[in-house]
């Protein structure tokens, strides 16, 4: 099953790392983690997708929901280091613009 590592950087950016498959069974967990960060005042979030081995439409929905709530709170959600499986799904759903992958977690909020 999936695990979510959650960390906050010195700059106050929340870093969430889903480890495993983001699918129908685990998407709700991601949504809860993202909602929890925003509710706790962390509205700049990076989702590090380097260990996400699979992504389905439920996982995408959780990312989009997180993106919207982070923006509503004055921040943003960015994605970094996607695996090939994740990149493929972003492209197939035309979400590679709104979820533009960043090369590093540290630099995700640089530009």
């Amino acid at each position: 099953m999936i695990e979510f590592a959650v960390d906050t950087t010195a700059e106050g950016v929340g870093v969430v790392t889903p480890k495993g498959r983001l699918n129908m069974a685990s998407a709700r967990g991601l949504k809860e983690v993202l909602d929890g960060l925003v509710a706790g005042g962390t509205s700049r979030i990076v989702v590090d997708l380097a260990e996400t081995t699979f992504l389905d439409s439920s996982g995408l929905g959780a990312l989009i929901a997180g993106l919207k709530s982070a923006r509503q709170a004055g921040g943003d959600l960015r994605v970094a280091r996607p695996t090939e499986a994740v990149t493929t799904v972003f492209k197939l759903t035309n979400l590679d613009r709104v979820l533009r992958p960043r090369d590093t977690v540290e630099g995700a909020f640089d530009a």
């Binding site: 439409s57 995408l60 959780a62 989009i64 090939e84 493929t88 979400l95 709104v98």
Partner: protein, 152 residues
């Protein structure tokens, strides 16, 4: 009325994996595991084809689990079966389930806009593989997916 799309038995058993199970979210993990077995049997399948096929299989299964409610037997247990086949040319998945008719017209399926938080499942499945068909016959839903393999 079209015939059920599940193909008949063939002699080459290691090319094919079958699973019959309750249509519950927990079964997703089992289908991922079955796909891992298929790739172990077919190491020559390109990564891009594995990703496309697995994406479509999981989206269709998600649709079956989410939307199919069994008419008979008091709605207690719905079941699905899936047959996954790898040939030199294509990856094929055939699903059958005893849920309610899916009332889906695949020609109407469109990708929602980027703000949408749901409704991408079948559009993603259709974008991922080359062919998807759905029909209802003999009180069962039948899905068939075909992913034409990339030429090495």
């Amino acid at each position: 009325m079209p015939e059920p799309t599940i193909p008949g038995p063939d002699a080459d058993d290691e090319r094919r994996i079958e699973l019959s199970a309750p249509a519950t979210p927990e079964m997703m993990q089992m289908v991922h595991a079955v796909l891992e077995q298929l790739w172990a049997n077919h190491e020559d399948v390109a990564m891009v084809d594995r990703i496309r096929f697995e994406t479509a299989v999981i989206e269709v299964l998600g649709n079956i689990v989410e939307h199919a409610y069994r008419i008979e037997s008091g709605g207690s247990e719905r079941r699905f079966d899936v047959r996954l086949t790898a040939t030199d040319d294509a990856l094929i998945a055939s699903f059958g389930d005893d849920g309610m008719p899916a009332s889906i017209d695949l020609s109407d399926v469109v990708m929602p806009d980027e703000e949408a938080e749901s409704g991408r499942g079948l559009a993603l499945a259709m974008a991922a593989v080359d062919e998807i068909s759905y029909d209802r016959s003999a009180g069962r839903n039948h899905w068939r997916l075909t992913c034409v393999r990339q030429r090495g």
